[in-house]
Amino acid sequence: MLTLDHLDKVYRTGTFGGSELHAVRQVSLDVQRGEVVSLIGESGSGKSTIGKMVLHLLDSSGGTITFDGRDVTRLGFRARREYYRKVQGVFQDPFSSFNPIYKVDRTFETLRRSYFPRVSAASWREKLEDALAAVTLEPDDILGKFPHQLSGGQLQRLLIARALLLDIELLVADEIISMLDASTRIDVLNLLGELKGRGLGILFVTHDLSLGNYVSDRVVILYKGRIVERGVTSAVFGDPLHPYTRDLLASVPHLDRTWEEVEAEEAERTRRLAGRCLYHEAVAAQGRSLGEEADAPDGVPNGLGLVEYSPGHFVGCFRKAADEACPGSAGAAG
């Protein structure tokens, strides 16, 4: 349904825009109907940037975005409006997502004026109630209230309801629960799971691996703008390959094991993967040397590509920063 192909985002920085900052490098991924794909990364990984590019709140610098078979990389104003009937987003801060001086109803009104100008008041009310019911909110609790009178969890669910009004196919959820209390987070997550079951595709951007694991079918691990590992959730979290993924998993505070215990458990895998780079090993196995990166399996230069280590489980070069040397190869740089 949604396909990102070699997506790039470059910012010009410095005086007179002399230097460049690659926020997103050659990112390729896809999201199908009825599945949740988690985009996991820390700050500076570019995950929110990707979310914003999918939502056309930011322009991309390279690569393509395809939706339902059509190229939507560049959209004019009218085409964007149509695009938003199928693709919507929910953001991190529920209180920033509402104009504080108006009641929350106004958000729905704006949508109505834009997309449903000829719908009667009665049928609009019905649509609203359906959407609110889908997110388990009572209309009487919500309508007519100001944002500061509601809780973060209610506001986030409201925003999901708003997206549902449009009968969307893809929802971009950008850190939607990181500002909520623990007891309400799970309700919103369960809601995402439910929506997935009804056929919605969800791109779930988060920095929290436990959340990603709970609700997603596939995960994409991002580091400094490039994908370092992706695949089916159980594969990636069960058998993490890339050093960064393993660092992330090792840093998560668990409730059943201490960090020391996790490190001990991981020792075996550390031994097995030390000093290697599975990406370059696969490249070499295909008869290419490191210098011939340009012809790497997926046509991506400079070691930014991924190899399929096992079915559905992709991993990239084991080096962390773009300008670091690859740990796997003796001598040759990535």
Binding site: Y11, N99, I101, S114, L159
Partner: protein, 316 residues
Amino acid sequence: MTATQPTAGPGTEATEQPGATGATSGAVPGGRKLGGDARETLYFALRNPKVVIGMVVVLGFVVLGLVGPAFLRYAPMDYAGPPMAPPSAEFPFGTTTFGQDVFAQFVAGLRSTFLVGLLGGGVAAVIGMTIGFVAGYRGGLVDELLNMLTNVVLVIPGFVVLIIINAYLGVRSVPMQALYIGVFSWPWVARAVRSQTLSLRSRDFIDLARLSGVGVGTILRREVAPNMYSYLFMTFVLLFGGSILTAASLDFIGLGPTNAMSLGLMMNQAVQWSALHLGLWWWFVPPGLGITLIVGSLYIMNVGLDEVFNPKLREM
């Protein structure tokens, strides 16, 4: 893309007043400004001494300027009575060296004063706000260009240019004077509106409006500006007062419109005809005091309005 850390977690939900509203009260920026709660604003406005006093003074002068001419016995330029007469029952502000009724001139002058304030302030407000909104919202090259324009106009010594324009082109009417003043007073408005717009721009509800297929102009009109109504109002009040002051200064040095009486012109004439030396204080004190009171009251009202609109400044 700045590598900022993820914003703080759930702790941000109840930073201000823990549990005060029962729900986890969100961090509401800019105080509790509720749309449509004009009544509450009015309530506080009418109880703020600065606002009330300022408004009363200004309104008093407005009424005098509007209604006064109907009650005048003499026209401003008529040689109505004995020259250089001090204030009396017949001539509340005395007469000039030519025997003109100072009070009549004063009332007539108020009209042009308010007219120039309204027009000049209005022109400056429109230019400044438009440039500010567009620059703040669009960013990028548009922002750079508008900034350059703003800075250039800011740096030009506006008053000097006005003097030159007035001296060479000659200003015949009050509206023209107002226009010229307006064209040079807007830069600070543009900057202030721009920075407010910039900070609102980064809020998610603007992104959400974009996701609703709403155009830029509509977003500025319906989402950005309403958040700044109080600020825009105060900006206008300041522009109003500033225009009056500038016009009076120009009139005082003789570069104002000559086809209408104004307070500054009165002072100019008073000086020209040696009112100071002759001790004719009733000729220049009323206009001077009038301007001071009007502009001063506007500024005081503005300070009071700031308290009204920003609940955090109110005393608990």
